[in-house]
Symmetry: C2
Subunit: 201 residues, 2 copies
DNA sequence: CATTAGGCAAAACAGTTGTTATGTGAATAC
DNA sequence: GTATTCACATAACAACTGTTTTGCCTAATG
């Protein structure tokens, strides 16, 4: 039977075990995707029976919600881990360094995130977590701009545009594989971002 | 039994009926998505049995391929139907007018396309059709730029960046619903596009 | 030591999946 | 007018889906 808190909402059994499981699950999803997620293959890949999943997450729907919440929470760490985020020269440097990381070592996770964002935009994924992730990214980049003296409102607008273009270039490259064309556009985007931080905009 | 052509590959029964079906199917997918597509509910929505689908498309996989090919082919018409595409002043006008159309009357189809592009970028959708669609869009915008005197290579790079940013803003708006923030970024994007066509870039 | 509680596997559950075999009725060809 | 082809519905098939029941085994509690 389920412990209860605050308003009668069922609470997870062992929060630490939940997080441990979620990390393994995210690793699995990065390779297999989330759109066609099925409990039995997932459980088998984890070396468990499907009951571990229903036991800790009650539902498939709630499992997916937990996954999205987990990814949302891990985003802060991912943003801080962005190369050049500390005190690199301009915003363009961050863009260029991020691209190298995202399209290299981090590529499986990027694929998963792109898939999730597409499904969420299409209205096929409920919950507040994906919108929160997008908003968080916008605020992160906006803060970088503000730290370079860009007025707050302009910073948020520029951050939104930069993130959108960056995301779109990721999708373009991942589907077409046209490295030359996409990276030329990325270079132009990075230069544009540089003009924003060397306040001659 | 199947008629054959060229190399022994089975050919569709009645090509005209196929197209008619595909149009209805795309209408259904625009409302229900493609990630969780199931043959029985689709067939029921069309007022048929599932056999109509397997009969005309042999497979679920080939049905999806046919859908993607169909969308790829209809893209040319969609691009020509873009408001302001004829001989509007600058590229920014096309951007602004397209946004109004895509986020209004055309929104269900945009949602479907966003979902498909996300799945394709994540590697969950095979076949040449989605890459071809992205490439076609890049070439369309590049041609608009070339017609305004932008050198061919620069035009393709700018077109890639513009499409990526536009796509990303669509995703942002569709998931966060933050109209003010996203449309501010769109306005900036449109202005940027205008600087490209009033060759002072 | 006895008892309980919790994590978990195994198996069973009903419902759904893609696919195929069979049958029917209409249109076409001979 | 007979034969053939074609589009399609119906129904069956095995495989898989999410979920639940049962029972085991271990660790904490009394």
């Amino acid at each position: 039977m389920l412990c209860e808190y605050d308003g009668g909402v069922p609470r997870p059994r062992d929060p630490q075990r939940r997080i441990e499981l979620l990390d393994q699950i995210v690793g699995y999803l990065a390779e297999h995707g989330i759109a066609q997620l099925s409990l039995r293959p997932l459980a088998k890949a984890l070396g468990h029976s499907t009951y571990v999943l229903t036991h800790h997450f009650t539902d498939k729907d709630e499992l997916i919600s937990a996954i999205l919440a987990h990814l949302d929470q891990r985003q802060k760490g991912r943003l801080r881990a962005l190369p050049g985020g500390e005190e690199g020269r301009g915003l363009g440097d961050i863009v260029r360094a991020s691209w190298a990381w995202h399209m290299g070592e981090d590529l499986p996770m990027v694929r998963l995130l792109v898939e999730i964002e597409g499904l969420s935009a299409a209205g096929r994924l409920r919950g507040p977590y994906v919108p929160r992730m997008l908003g968080g990214r916008a605020e992160f980049v906006a803060d970088v701009l503000r730290a370079r003296g860009v007025p707050s409102g302009v910073a948020l607008r520029n951050a939104t545009l930069l993130n959108a273009a960056y995301s779109g270039l990721q999708i373009d490259y991942l589907t077409t594989g046209d490295k030359e064309r996409v990276e030329a556009a990325l270079a132009e985007l990075a230069e544009l971002a540089d003009t924003w931080t060397s306040n001659r905009g």
